[in-house]
């Protein structure tokens, strides 16, 4: 149901039945290693190329979600997912393996919430009984496409971010008046915001205004205020983006407590890992939300969270042609239904 200008409410409360999270070696050494279902100790994951390893991440996350949800693949209607690589081929190749009717979506690092919002909407209106949705990214595959070869000795500035090697998938299903399940209750779809920043080594700074726009729209549309949520978590704004967003929100008259406003890109790695400003990538918000954050919700740490996944919609071509970085953010509210 449309509420306000750009938000959906999900009165039938689609259930996040199960999730699967896969990751690479850098994530295994990170802060949230216990929340991953599958961790690889090698970036190649037994494949011949990074892109193929990327596909494996998505496949494993999806398979794990199905297994943990205790459901046969034949009972799932749709697979909605995406990634960062040209023409989202890793996800499409994973969809070839999974053999489910497939929506391939691209929202850069906001893909996870774009998928979750669409899946929730479809389930809410009985468009499907079960939907599998997710996102993934692979550090070396993303570096190869967007930046330099993996072994190239270029110096990254302190504003740069580290692309997560990981995938996260969630299995959504229709709610049969259950209690004590994790549900999605609303979503806000963002518009593309471009504040003229051109530095691809500073994504957080470019994406912050998009996050602010979507968060403001969410609270306006839903008539809620920040105290409604136990946690507002952004996808991959990292250090600069988070600080900038906090300041902008305050300027817009929205006061959020600092420790209630977190960022997945600052949670996944340890302080001493050399990731500069923090983590990024389509797999960042997917892995942290579908792993760590939902585990925390199950343990009762949080009851209501708002996840705002941010994406920088640039390509190496647009950057080289001098275009500034167009950014987007999508928000989904996730609640423990009691």
């Amino acid at each position: 149901m449309l509420i306000g200008k750009q938000s959906w409410a999900f009165p039938n409360k689609p259930v996040i039945a199960a999730t699967g999270v896969s990751g690479g070696p850098f994530e295994a050494n990170g802060n949230l290693a216990e929340d991953f279902d599958i961790l690889h100790d090698d970036l190649w994951m037994g494949e011949e190329s990074y892109e193929k390893a990327h596909r494996v991440l998505m496949e494993e996350a999806a398979q794990t979600a199905l297994e943990k949800g205790n459901i046969q693949k034949e009972d799932v209607q749709f697979f909605i997912a995406g990634d960062l690589i040209n023409q989202i081929t890793p996800t499409s190749l994973a969809a070839r393996t999974i053999q489910l009717p497939y929506f391939g979506i691209f929202g850069a690092c906001s893909t996870s919430m774009e998928g979750l919002a669409l899946a929730s909407f479809i389930i809410n209106y009985q468009g499907a009984k079960y939907i599998l949705t997710g996102a993934s990214s692979h550090n070396a595959a993303a570096e190869k496409q967007f930046r330099y070869p993996t072994e190239y000795g270029g110096q990254k500035p302190p504003t740069a971010q580290w692309t997560v090697t990981g995938g996260g998938a969630a299995l959504l299903r229709a709610n049969e008046n259950e209690k004590g399940v994790i549900v999605t209750t609303s979503a806000t779809i963002g518009k593309v915001i471009d504040m003229g920043l051109t530095d691809p080594f500073n994504m957080g700074g470019a994406m912050a205004p998009a996050a602010v726009d979507t968060i403001m729209a969410h609270f306006k549309d839903t008539n809620r205020d920040p105290s409604y949520y136990d946690l507002i978590v952004t996808g991959d704004l990292a250090r600069i983006g988070r600080e900038t967003t906090l300041e902008l929100l305050q300027k817009n008259g929205l006061n959020i407590e600092r420790d209630k406003f977190q960022d997945c890109g600052l949670m996944i790695y340890k302080e001493d890992q050399p990731v500069q400003a923090g983590a990024s990538g389509a797999g960042c918000s997917a892995a942290v939300l579908y792993g760590h954050l939902l585990n925390q919700m199950k343990q009762g740490v949080y009851k209501k969270i708002l996840v705002v996944a941010t994406g920088a919609l640039l390509s190496p071509l647009t950057f080289q042609q001098g275009e500034s970085i167009p950014c987007i953010a999508h928000a989904v509210s996730i609640e423990m239904d009691e």
Partner: protein
Amino acid sequence: MGKKKNATPEQLQYQELEKKHEMKRPVVKNCIKAFLVGGFICFIGQAVSYFYIYFFNFTEQTSGNPTVATMVFFSMLLTGFGVYDHIGQFAGAGSAVPVTGFGNSVISAAMEHRSEGFILGVGGNMFKLAGSVILFGVFSAFIVALIKTLLIRWGVI
């Protein structure tokens, strides 16, 4: 920064706000690290150069080529074992400017694109970073040589 010209006041205002939160590159520290690491690489290069002069029939003029080849070989090993990118993050220009950095840019690109085959992958992408160094290096050498030739011909030098 031609792009800044077309920025709206709103964009400029935001860019100013955002700038405050950016971590600055530690320029002085980076310069010192680059100086030390770059100097150390050149020190090794000098040692290799003397090695060729003392143990083989090279002179100070002719020892350059085998020295460069040896340094690039070292750089290849370090790149292949995944060490050079860490040196690069630490040293910045210190490891990028010497010939080892040039070697690293070629070798890392070749390794990266091996998965696309030898012709289109390795062959087509090997010089994607180093290509512009070669092009503009050769071109500026040509211009400098041209100026020198003209000056000699005109009797200026």
